[in-house]
């Protein structure tokens, strides 16, 4: 497992990480947090305290919508889905991050590949 990325950097990337995951399938908070940690090899980790304010903020901005549904075990969980607005928002967000990494690579030799 990689060393976790400091919270200030991780917080900036949270929006992209969450929207990317939800673009594939609806997920509830715990799953989002687990998948981010798992898919980033442990480099990105969002605790309850950092994840939920971000989810509520994105929901308020209309990028995702939460709805109570039963999970595979029959327990009620609040599943988040990307809204059409969220889908539209994701493409330029990816481009911005790509441009950011390219610029950083040029500047400091930090490759994102």
């Amino acid at each position: 497992m990689k060393k976790p990325i400091p919270s200030k950097i991780a917080r900036g990337s949270a929006e992209l990480a969450i929207l990317t995951l939800l673009d594939k399938q609806p997920l509830y908070g715990f799953e989002i947090s687990r998948l981010i940690e798992q898919n980033s090899g442990g480099a990105l980790r969002f605790t309850l305290a950092s994840l939920y304010p971000m989810l509520y903020e994105l929901e308020k901005r209309g990028l995702l919508r939460g709805r109570w549904e039963a999970n595979e075990e029959g327990r009620d969980r609040r599943y988040y889905r990307l809204t059409p607005e969220g889908k539209r928002h994701l493409a330029p967000l990816r481009q911005e991050w790509h441009a950011f990494f390219v610029a950083l690579d040029r500047l400091a030799g930090v490759s994102h590949a």
Binding site: T47, Y52, R77
Partner: protein
């Protein structure tokens, strides 16, 4: 199994949201802690260890309550609309007005400049008022794309969609349209001004000078910003 709902409920007393919303948040956070607790137990940790690690997810409940309250606050929507529509629109309106006043003062106070402009605008339509008035309008229309660009640029910076950008850029023309829609009926119906009915061409010219041509010029200025993708709010 710990009673996660009551743990979260007692720690998030300061949220001060509407009861159904607060209950929903409490249930969601309690579910998260419950899932985490079960995951730790599945990994072989004993109950107190699993409980302690789950509770470490939130070291500062007051800070969490504040963050959630801030994220849930509905004023954000109003602020965003203000930033992407009303403020850029007002900037476009203010710059358009300042440009017109400045041009009027500059042209009227300098006879030499006025003569040059009159000469330059010698192809004006014959019914178009006095020469200097047309000269001022012409200069204003040429400069108006700057106002439209300012409105669209500010709207785009705040993630405004195309429609918001267009509305912000043509805001000065919309204001004039509203004024006309109000002034004309008041003039005719309330003030019984018959000249308004006798000379409808004046109103047509005024609409063209103040609304239609400026509207087109403002949109022209907004065009480069409509092609760009909206900037992302972080």
């Amino acid at each position: 199994m710990p009673d996660w709902k009551s743990i979260v409920h007692s720690n998030l007393k300061e949220l001060n949201l509407h009861l159904p919303e607060q209950d929903e948040i409490t249930a969601e956070l309690a579910n998260h802690l419950e899932d985490l607790y079960e995951q730790f137990q599945a990994q072989g940790l004993c109950e107190p260890e699993a409980f302690g690690l789950a509770m470490e997810e939130t070291k500062d409940w007051k800070k969490l309550a504040k963050s959630i309250a801030r994220a849930k606050r509905k004023e954000g929507e109003i602020n965003r609309r203000t930033k992407m529509l009303w403020l850029p629109g007002l900037v476009a309106f203010a710059t358009a007005s300042i440009l017109l006043i400045a041009l009027e003062r500059a042209v009227m106070s300098r006879p030499a400049l006025l003569t040059t402009l009159e000469h330059a605008t010698s192809l004006r339509p014959t019914f178009w008022w006095r020469e200097q008035v047309f000269a001022i309008y012409l200069c204003w229309w040429i400069l108006l794309p700057l106002s439209g660009a300012a409105g669209a640029c500010l709207s785009r910076r705040e993630s405004g969609r195309r429609l918001a950008c267009v509305a912000a850029s043509v805001f000065p023309a919309i204001v004039v349209l509203c004024i006309f829609c109000f002034v004309l009926p008041v003039n005719i119906v309330l003030e019984k001004n018959t000249s308004a009915m006798q000379h409808p061409l004046y109103y047509v010219i005024a609409m063209v000078n103040w609304m239609m041509v400026p509207g087109l010029a403002l949109i022209l200025g907004a065009l480069p910003f409509l092609r760009q993708p909206p900037k992302i709010q972080k």
